[in-house]
């Protein structure tokens, strides 16, 4: 049963994509660590961390695609789950600083000393333990998604109304995390990280492992997403997207289907955020900004929603473009992003990957039609193939 679930996921394209992602995950750190700094093949650490950041964004886009591309829930608040995962990781990293902070307080992080905290707030307990922190990386976003989704989906909040309240959710969290008395470092967020599991976060070797972990988690989540999408559940998901009332009248509990997908997606976003934080070295409330969540929608749309590989490509391309443009022509980046979104919506409504796939499908259909003209009896072979599956 479970093996069937996983086996279905490993369809050709997904295997290729996972292969490429893992190859990058090994090759880039290898070129960083094993080649001398003056070699033509050497990848500097800052480039590796930059690419590592793209992989985290790719995972975030994949998470959004699962709810938007397959289930039709346009979440404009996925940045919130990403940021919460990032904060959970950040709290662990803060606890690892120990007495090495500027104020040298062995228990309280610098910002708490600065803000006159007398003792560690209750919700900081446990975060010095790596396993607990990693559990929180998925539990906290998952729980928020569960509570939010429970009310939203049960009350049948749909379409643009749902998008607006997801946006409001991330905005509310932005405001909350900005407050100093929330206990998350306020405006400045969490930074000045020193160690992760005893290894310096600045060291090339640690960066290399973080990069590899990003590639690995992206691969695993891609396989999971593929398994979900290819199961009968995945077909129901697409049904919810295309004809929700039909799914309801077939006897499915649409609210549970949405809730499950939303929670899984939020957990993936949390993992992406947790891998992002040690690679960029900071997490602050800016990650909750509504504009961030909207950017994720752009990446997904550019790559192709409703395809699993599309959002990954979209996130990497758009962020690569962003890094290039903000370096070369900082004034025009936002115009370029806006222009890109409009161009994709107008000319490539299925996104890059969607358009390519559609082209292949159309060619296949043409060929099948031509074959059917010649031979007939095509339908029986197809039916047999289905039966054998």
């Amino acid at each position: 049963m479970i093996s069937g679930f996983v086996f279905r996921a490993l369809e050709g394209r997904i295997v290729t994509a996972v292969g490429i992602i893992l190859a990058i995950g090994i090759l880039v750190p290898a070129l960083n660590l094993l080649t001398p700094a003056d070699s033509a093949l050497h990848i500097p650490t800052y480039v590796m961390s930059l690419f590592g950041k793209y992989l985290c964004y790719a995972l975030l886009a994949l998470a959004l695609d699962l709810v938007w591309g397959y289930c039709g829930i346009l979440s404009l608040g996925h940045g919130a789950f990403f940021a919460l995962g990032g904060y959970a990781m950040g709290m662990y990293l803060m606890r690892q600083i120990g007495p090495r902070g500027v104020y040298g307080n062995p228990i309280l992080p610098d910002f708490m000393v600065f803000l006159n905290y007398k003792e560690l707030p209750w919700f900081w307990h446990g975060f010095d333990w790596f396993i607990f922190a990693m559990a929180m990386v998925i539990v906290v976003p998952g729980l928020l998604a569960f509570i939010f989704g429970w009310f939203a989906f049960r009350s049948r909040v749909n379409g643009v109304y749902l998008s607006i309240i997801t946006q409001a959710m991330t905005y509310a969290l932005l405001l909350a995390f900005f407050r100093n008395d929330m206990g998350f470092g306020g405006n400045n967020g969490l930074t000045d990280f020193k160690d992760i599991l005893g290894f310096s976060v600045q060291a090339d070797g640690t960066r290399a492992v973080l990069f590899f972990m990003s590639a690995l988690m992206l691969s695993l989540c891609l396989i999971l997403a593929s398994a979900i999408v290819r199961s009968k559940f995945g077909k129901v998901l697409v049904g919810v997207r295309d004809a929700e009332s039909r799914v309801r009248f077939l006897g499915f509990r649409v609210e549970n289907i949405k809730l499950f997908t939303f929670v899984v997606s939020a957990m993936m976003a949390g993992i992406a955020g947790a891998l992002f934080v040690p690679q960029v070295g900071i997490i602050n409330p800016g990650e909750f900004a509504p504009a961030n969540s909207i950017e994720v929608v752009v990446w997904t749309a550019v790559g192709g929603r409703g395809t699993l590989i599309g959002p990954i490509i979209g996130a990497i391309l758009v962020n690569g473009g962003k890094s290039f443009f903000t370096g070369a022509f900082p004034e025009i980046w936002l115009f370029a992003l806006g222009g890109l979104f409009i161009a994709v919506t107008l000319f490539l409504p299925k996104g890059i990957v969607g358009t390519i796939q559609h082209g292949f499908k159309a060619r296949k259909a043409l060929k099948a039609a031509a074959d059917a003209e010649k031979g007939r009896g095509d339908a029986t072979t197809v039916a047999q193939a289905q039966a054998a599956e």
Partner: protein, 253 residues
């Protein structure tokens, strides 16, 4: 009173004094209506007579303001939602054919199949030989075997209607509600649909809402005429179409 308790004992679907109003407009006005097990029933009536509202109430989409809606004499449908009611065995076909356009015909039927519908059950579902056989059977019934691997979006209007009927069959309902199944169909398709519905009605109750009088004559069953939210007349097609009130309200002189 005696009459009602008798009908209650053998009814599949029982509506009594059901009223519902939207913004002051009385869509249903103490409607009473009984369907017996195995019955094929046609419902006619002018636009706004409450036909679709009645289906909405039976399938849990709308809650009535007052009245009783019972399934198999004991189950109060007004307390249940769409998914519950579908699982109890009431299938509904919409006026506009509603199928999953980006799935193949086969997948449409696979989704509709009456199997456990929970999140984890569907995640780990694998197509069993019995399920394959059942889908094959339904494909035969709805005459779409040769198009089973086609995307539903590529079907003709009539074929979509049949696919939707097929999905309802896969659901194995005890009661099938069919809203205007032949709207937009060619004459040949209409005739075939009548045969299909009669075949289906051999094993379950079917309620058909339709405007096409020729089609209803072809079905040759008991007819209920609704107007302004309540029953105007009930009986054979000839009886109903000769009723002066029906002529006045619906058929026209």
């Amino acid at each position: 009173m005696n009459m009602i308790s008798e009908t209650r004992q053998k009814s599949l679907l029982y509506l009594e004094n059901v009223s519902v109003s939207f913004d002051g407009f009385k869509a249903l006005n103490s409607l009473s209506f009984v369907v017996e097990p195995g019955e094929l029933r046609a419902i006619i009536g002018p636009n706004g007579a409450g036909k679709t509202t009645m289906m909405d109430i039976i399938t849990g989409k709308t809650r009535p303001d007052t009245g009783t809606v019972l399934f198999e004499d004991t189950i109060d449908l007004t307390k249940k939602d769409e998914a519950d009611i579908a699982q109890l065995g009431i299938g509904r076909k919409f006026q506009k054919p509603t199928v999953f356009e980006s799935h193949t015909v086969w997948d449409n039927l696979e989704l509709a199949l009456n199997r456990s519908r929970g999140v984890f059950a569907t995640l780990f579902y694998t197509l069993s030989p019995e399920d394959k056989a059942r889908i094959g059977e339904i494909l035969e019934t709805i005459r779409l075997t040769h198009r089973s691997q086609e995307y539903a979006a590529n079907l003709s209007h009539g074929q979509k209607q049949w696919l939707e009927i097929g999905m309802l069959l896969a659901q194995e309902p005890k009661l099938l509600l069919v809203d205007e199944p032949v709207a937009g169909m060619t004459d040949a398709e209409t005739a075939e649909t009548a045969v299909l519905l009669k075949e289906i009605a051999k094993t379950r109750s079917v309620v058909v809402v339709e405007h096409d009088m020729g089609f209803i004559r072809e079905l040759g069953v008991k007819v209920t005429c609704l107007a302004e939210g309540s029953v105007l007349a009930e009986g054979s097609i000839d009886f109903v179409s000769n009723d002066p009130k029906v002529i006045e309200n619906y058929l026209g002189r």
